[in-house]
Amino acid sequence: MRIFLIIYVFVIVATVTILGFRGSLSTKTPLEVFPDMDHQAKYKPQSENDFFRDRRNDRPIPAGTVARGNYLNQQAVFSEDFADKRLGDTALLEGKDAEGNFIAKLPLAVSYELIEQGRERYEIFCTSCHGSAGDGNGVTKPYGVLAASYHDDRLRNETDGYLYDVIMNGKGLMYGLKDRLSPEESWAIVLYVRALQLSQNAGADALTAAQRSELGF
């Protein structure tokens, strides 16, 4: 019995020493206890695929095609009286009119919800470089990102279409965000940038009398 107990304790100590405790960090791939059907022959986003030479499951979009489900409602496309409005809409998609000039005003109906949507997207995608007030003082400034301030006369007088183009395609050192923002979201950001510009450059005469007395002029 004594021998049994010694072996027993030894085995337990050995197991705990080798296997460790729950939650300890390890670089070993997790053991799959029952791997049945964990890995099926199906395609999941961003996974590997041995069929293609570059082994990527997500295929690059060939030029001149539109990814299924991206822009158009499938049912509408395959109905008889389909007329493509969205793809030909250069104002919405490129911020330019038919002649290729930037449009002056955004092509969406303006509402408070749109500004709020713009604020949400702005805080995700722009604040780290341009700062929440749009003055170019984002957290990355000390590390060498010299983002522009929106509060100068040139940018105040630029068209909405131009700002849209900067967001989508970038300008100079700034990369475009075409891959990460839909046209509607970008227009919402343009609207919010306009609101920011106004917030830093509003004259006292733009306020109502009540607001002015509240501020003490």
């Binding site: 390890s26 964990d38 890995h39 999941k44 961003q46 990527r56 060498g144």
Partner: protein, 217 residues
């Protein structure tokens, strides 16, 4: 008649029973402790090809999760960012850092960075990120404090029991939708908040599936 069996034989049954009990207890405890995802998965922290730190980018620089994991609130799959997203900053920040050589090469050649996947649901499970994050379930419930991790590790078991634990009582985990990306948010420990959460689940008709076909379609 002489004694055929010596006296010590009398204790054999007790010893055998004791040994079997000890062995059984050890095996049961060992299996419950080690053979579940709480041990096999939690703590998995593979070495990534680039020493990318969430503690620096998401924690210290406070970049929103959606700057990189852009589609987490719009799609089932939460994408790992393209190299271009890193280059939006690293074309200006640390342009010559050898740690970032792979990022620059990848951007020039178009070959993706071979990130090692940490979390993976088995192929027979349908999981949808957008459904969860848009309904007030934060990343922290399933991924832990990623914004404090130098190297991402598997923080929660993501087993079926884990999913169901929340699906049965969503009001214990739900938070205001605007706090979903703020992993540091702490649930107020007050009765009012508990009632608010129950009301939220009721008013928003939050109804997580508990039937098998909800997750195994």
């Amino acid at each position: 008649m002489a004694n055929v069996f010596p006296k010590w034989v009398n204790t054999i049954p007790i010893k055998v029973i004791a040994a079997i009990t000890l062995l059984a207890t050890a095996v049961v405890l060992g299996v419950t402790y080690y053979a579940t995802p709480k041990y096999t998965r939690v703590g998995y922290a593979p070495t990534q090809p680039v020493a990318f730190s969430h503690a620096l980018h998401a924690g210290q620089l406070e970049i929103d999760c959606r700057y990189c994991h852009t589609f987490v609130d719009r799609a089932a799959h939460s994408n790992v960012p393209a190299t271009e997203v890193c280059m939006t900053c690293h074309s200006m920040v640390r342009q010559d850092d050898p740690q970032l050589a792979m990022v620059r090469d990848s951007y020039e050649s178009g070959e993706p960075i071979p990130w090692v996947r940490v979390h993976a649901a088995p192929d027979y499970v349908y999981f949808n990120h957008a459904v969860h994050v848009n309904r007030g379930i934060s990343c922290v419930e399933c991924h832990g404090r990623v914004d404090q991790m130098e190297v991402v590790h598997h923080a929660k078991p993501l087993s079926m029991a884990f999913c169901l634990e929340c699906h049965r009582n969503p009001e214990e985990y739900i938070r205001p939708p605007e706090e979903v990306y703020n992993l540091a948010w702490e649930r107020p420990e007050t009765k009012e908040y508990d009632e608010e959460a129950i009301a939220f689940v009721h008013d928003w008709k939050v109804n997580p599936p508990q039937s098998c076909s909800g997750c195994h379609r």
